[in-house]
Symmetry: C2
Subunit: 304 residues, 2 copies
């Protein structure tokens, strides 16, 4: 089975703590390495966890609050200084291009590799990236400034046909790939064997939805319905609901509610306010609504 | 004796390593806290070493290469989010103002405190800051882009007069402060006792010069002459002299030569290239010319 693995590099909200860095995640799907947000010190976290950052070819930035992008310039510069020549794709708010260019103008930097910008349009289900294995689409979030979430979906995998089935029906070689892709089999007598009788253990494509930062907003539910793993911010406990509303953030209880209403398989919460030294109350609160919840913890890897 | 203490927060050159952060230093002179350069993750380093960053009222940025300022936005934002209202002075290249303002425009941030810019003019010995205890002046460095070093000097301290001396000469109370400041004493019979016979252990004012980044350039010598501590970059070993010249950096040997020619009391080297895992060869090389040399090491405090 191909890799589908998420590594948390930072899980704090706006002010980092001595134990928690601002938001960044590395997602590996079939050896495509996607960096999702890039808070300050992301390059240092990548080094700490021995993750080779030159393998990252696609960086997704949700929005322009500093805790989600201030590590980007340093990472881009280190990639340059360490000899990168491969092009790098940046999926981001249009204004980030101005922020990067003004800094490289004043430092008189010319990158040795091409930076290709893909500006957010803030519509749902826009295809941001696609190849033969992975599809990445947009999720419109509801924050103080324009903010975009991301959904990463595995392309359907080929099913398996057992040797016994091939022998039993005497399936010609040229029919095997079409059947693996979903075709039925027509026998010489004209009768049809439906695909589901031929293939075994076809794995459901896995999917990961990233939703940070946002207030509680049910309009995202169609985009995240049934995903294998939902990452949803949970900046506050529900007792701070007013503060959450003011700052366009979500409480742990609300994150559980969204997960439950969207029938996701598993929920991961993160983007914790610096006020919470102990994260267990946040986890307990989300689990009171949606049991299969885990905490985002720096350095931890989750296999989907 | 009042404090005069330097804490190293980062000592790496452009690409940080898993053990070394980019440049930042905290200098405490008589409870004035000066931050000198602010590489990525400086706010995280300040937290790690339990240094209260809200006490910093003056930040000095030498130049606009990312390893010297990319931690600034995050630090300014955390100061804001944690309730700062006291004004903050920024001594920096004029272009840094544009870099900060474009980011706060796009994040729709309005700081709760005033940021007061003092733009570098790139002339030697310009007074950047002065109060009754400290004087900070500029040092023009020689780098690929405009770069300014800083010299921090203690104001002359008051001398002491022993009780015995006061009794012996029957010194009137109103004469004590003038004598501590350097005045002679005129006795009732008109004879004059020179100041040096009255005061004891007047401490020489201490000074710290910060020179990063720069190539070897003897024109800085008049600015750094006789300082108590010189921090001078030593990015490379002398075997990489050509690379040092290309990139406008200094070798450890050259840093030793500058220290020796400027008759400084002590030299600290830093801004090490990521290629040097072991720093001892850099130290040995500088010491081969100037014996009283130490390494900049993160977390270490040096009392002047």
């Amino acid at each position: 089975m191909q890799n589908f693995e998420l590594t948390i590099l930072g899980c704090s909200s706006a002010t980092p703590t001595s134990k928690r860095n601002p938001t960044a995640q590395l997602l590996n799907i079939a050896e495509r390495f996607f960096l999702i947000d890039c808070g300050e010190a992301t390059q240092i976290q990548l080094r700490r966890y021995k993750l080779k950052f030159q393998r990252i070819n696609h960086i997704f930035i949700s929005h322009l609050h500093g805790d989600h992008y201030l590590g980007l310039l340093g990472l881009l510069s280190s990639m340059h200084l360490l000899g990168r020549t491969a092009e790098l794709h940046l999926y981001c708010p249009a204004e980030l291009q101005e922020i990067i260019e003004v800094q490289y103008k004043h430092s008189e930097t010319r990158l040795n590799y091409q930076l290709i910008y893909h500006h957010h349009t803030y519509e749902n289900d826009v295809v941001l990236f696609e190849d033969e294995k992975v599809l990445v689409t947009s999720i419109v979030l509801n924050h103080r400034i324009p903010c975009c979430g991301f959904k990463f979906t595995e392309k359907p995998l080929l099913a398996n046909i057992s040797k016994d089935t091939i022998t039993y029906y005497n399936i010609p070689v040229e029919q095997i790939l079409p059947i693996k892709k979903g075709a039925d089999l027509t026998l010489p007598d004209g009768s049809i064997i439906p695909n589901e009788k031929l293939v075994v253990s076809k794995q459901e494509p896995r999917s990961y939805a990233y939703c940070s930062d946002t207030c509680y907003d049910e309009t995202i539910i169609p985009c995240i319905k049934d995903v294998t793993l939902l990452y949803h911010e949970a900046t506050f406990l529900h007792e701070k609901l007013e503060r959450a509303k003011e700052t366009h953030h979500t409480t742990a209880l609300q994150a559980g509610q969204i997960a439950q209403k969207a029938s996701v398989k598993k929920l991961m919460i993160g983007h914790y306010s610096a006020r919470y030294k102990d994260l267990q109350p946040l986890l307990d609160e989300a689990r009171s609504v949606f049991d299969n919840t885990v905490l985002a913890i720096e350095g931890e890897q989750t296999k989907l």
